[in-house]
Amino acid sequence: MTNSIEELHNNRRTQRGFAMKRCVKMLAAAVSAVMLFPVCAVPAHAEGSIEDVCDAIREIGYPEECVKTFMNEYETRPHDENGMYVGEDYWEYIDLAENIIIFRDLIDGKLAAFMGVSPEAVKTADPSAFVSLLPLLTNAAPAATTAPAAAVTDENGQTVSQTTVTTVSGSEAPVTTAVTNGGTHTKEQEAAFVNMTLEEKQAFISSLPEDQRAAYFAGLTPAERKSLLKQISKDAQADILKDFVEAGETFGMHVSIDKIGDGQIDFSVRDSDGTLIDSTSFGSKVDDTGWDMTLPVIGSAGTILLSIGGFGWTAYRANKRREEVLNGEN
């Protein structure tokens, strides 16, 4: 004799809750996974569908869990074959997807601008123009072959996504980096970039020929973007996060940045009902789990010292008065 109502409730909660839970767990990766597309992606599907919106959410860098959460939300919102309601507004799928992609370009442009690269150049750059020299510099140079996969284009002939596989033959084990925008960054290149300080990154970018700078940004991997986002100034972070937050608003995810600290950005995410979905930070977080007793301790210690001083003063006055009385009598 089981409690079937409880079970049904738990199952529903399991489906929704887990998706919600995961959706911003890796927002650090999400922001850094923003892709530098040369153009705004236009939905690949002919007449626009919810899948286009999902693709756009992925494009801008939200993790798959967020997409699932969005799909869960989608089921609860009024929608038809052409569009859906976000809040009280009706959006056609095509328009909604385009609206989301605009934010991606904004974010990409700001990252590039911070590093001294023209956002306009990044928009039109060809990611494959940059070819990584690593591990060719650090090891015996095996031959590298780059084989771009077939690009997926939309009805307007514009590139939506492209996969490039770089294999390094020779004694080294194959180094393969598959990135979705045609980047040619090897794992060694990625690791080297990630481990650089901001100054080293800036020096590295500056050392590249002009045409390859924008190409480098056009082919950034998620890890590289994540490392860069953590290192840029707080103002720049706040600026980029603002766009990221606004992007979330377009499809009903309410992100609020709680705190930008040293190497840590705390944020909260709420769904359209205002229910708190997550409260976490970019990257791993070590929480503060101690009460700060500074004020009570210092306050009480100060009070004790003052009162001891008060007693001393009173005793001194009493002694002085006694002497005056004695002197007066004499």
């Binding site: 004799m1 089981t2 409690n3 109502i5 007693f311 005793a315 009493a318 008065r321 006694r322």
Partner: protein
């Protein structure tokens, strides 16, 4: 208060007396209020806890009827107001008995024979009507249902959540401390007397000052107890733990606020004694001054 050394010695003795008085008042509250089963038993009546528990259980089993198939009538006799009252009081006396050392084992073992009989009768009747074989599975289901009902009723009647506190280790911690409360109280009272006598000795040349220092001790101890107690009451701090379950809310907040009221009362008595002490001091001080000036 004319000599500095007398003043400072008196201050030190007064501080010790304040601490001792705080101990005395605190231990009195603990012994006669907090660790007294009567406090909780009184709340059972004043907060009508038995009726609240009965209604909660009734509602629960009514809701469960569609899920488990067992009608409310099976449980009716076991969850009557009288039975609930018995179980609540049993859990209170057991918990306090365990803490005070008069009971060896924590946890009540109520007589659920009537409940078992009612449930067995229902199951047998059901099995006969539906041609169920009374095999091992049947017996297992019956045992599980009986155990679940007993546990549920016991938990609901444990309005002060003694079982959870025991699980958290608090009951055992209190049990270790309880034997020393009485001795502590006597010790603190003895310390109060001793410190008073020492004050008398230090202020032997101007005995009227003893009343002044005694008044200070009583006043300061009273204020130190009253401020937090009043704050807890005024801010309704314990309502933070306001619970969904009606009877637990009534029981727990009743107990805790009762403690704060007792603390405020004790502090009030101490303030009155302090005022009397100050009056005595003023009278004696003036009489002495009159005698001194008269000479």
């Amino acid at each position: 208060m004319k000599k500095a050394s007398t003043y400072l010695f008196s201050v030190i003795l007064t501080i010790l007396l304040i601490l001792s008085m705080l101990g005395t008042i605190g231990l009195m509250l603990m012994k006669f209020r907090a660790l007294n089963a009567g406090t909780c038993l009184q709340l059972v009546q004043s907060q009508d806890l038995a009726e609240r528990v009965h209604q909660s259980l009734e509602k629960y089993y009514q809701e469960q009827e569609n899920v488990t198939g067992i009608p409310l009538s099976v449980y009716a006799d076991s969850i009557s107001t009288g039975e609930c009252d018995k179980l609540i009081r049993l859990s209170i006396t057991n918990a306090f008995g365990y803490m005070n050392g008069t009971v060896d084992e924590f946890g009540i073992k109520p007589d659920f024979s009537e409940l078992k009989a009612d449930m067995t009768a229902f199951f047998e009747d059901y099995a006969e009507k539906n041609d169920f074989e009374k095999d091992e599975t049947y017996q297992k289901k019956l045992d599980e249902a009986q155990l679940a009902a007993q546990t549920n009723i016991k938990t609901e009647c444990d309005v002060f959540r003694f079982a959870t506190l025991q699980e958290a280790g608090l009951i055992d911690k209190v049990k270790k401390v309880v034997p020393y409360v009485g001795f502590g109280l006597i010790g603190c009272a003895a310390a109060d007397l001793l410190l008073f006598l020492l004050l008398l000795a230090v202020n032997r040349k101007e005995k009227q000052h003893v009343w002044y220092w005694l008044g200070n001790s009583l006043l300061v101890s009273a204020i130190l107890i009253m401020i937090p107690a009043v704050w807890l009451n005024v801010t309704r701090w314990f309502d933070k733990f306001a619970v969904k379950t009606d009877q637990i809310f009534a029981a727990v907040t009743g107990y805790l606020y009762g403690l704060t009221h007792a603390a405020i009362t004790a502090a009030g008595v101490a303030i009155l004694l302090a005022v009397c002490s100050y009056i005595l001091f003023i009278i004696q001080h003036r009489m002495r001054n009159a005698r001194t000036n008269g000479r």
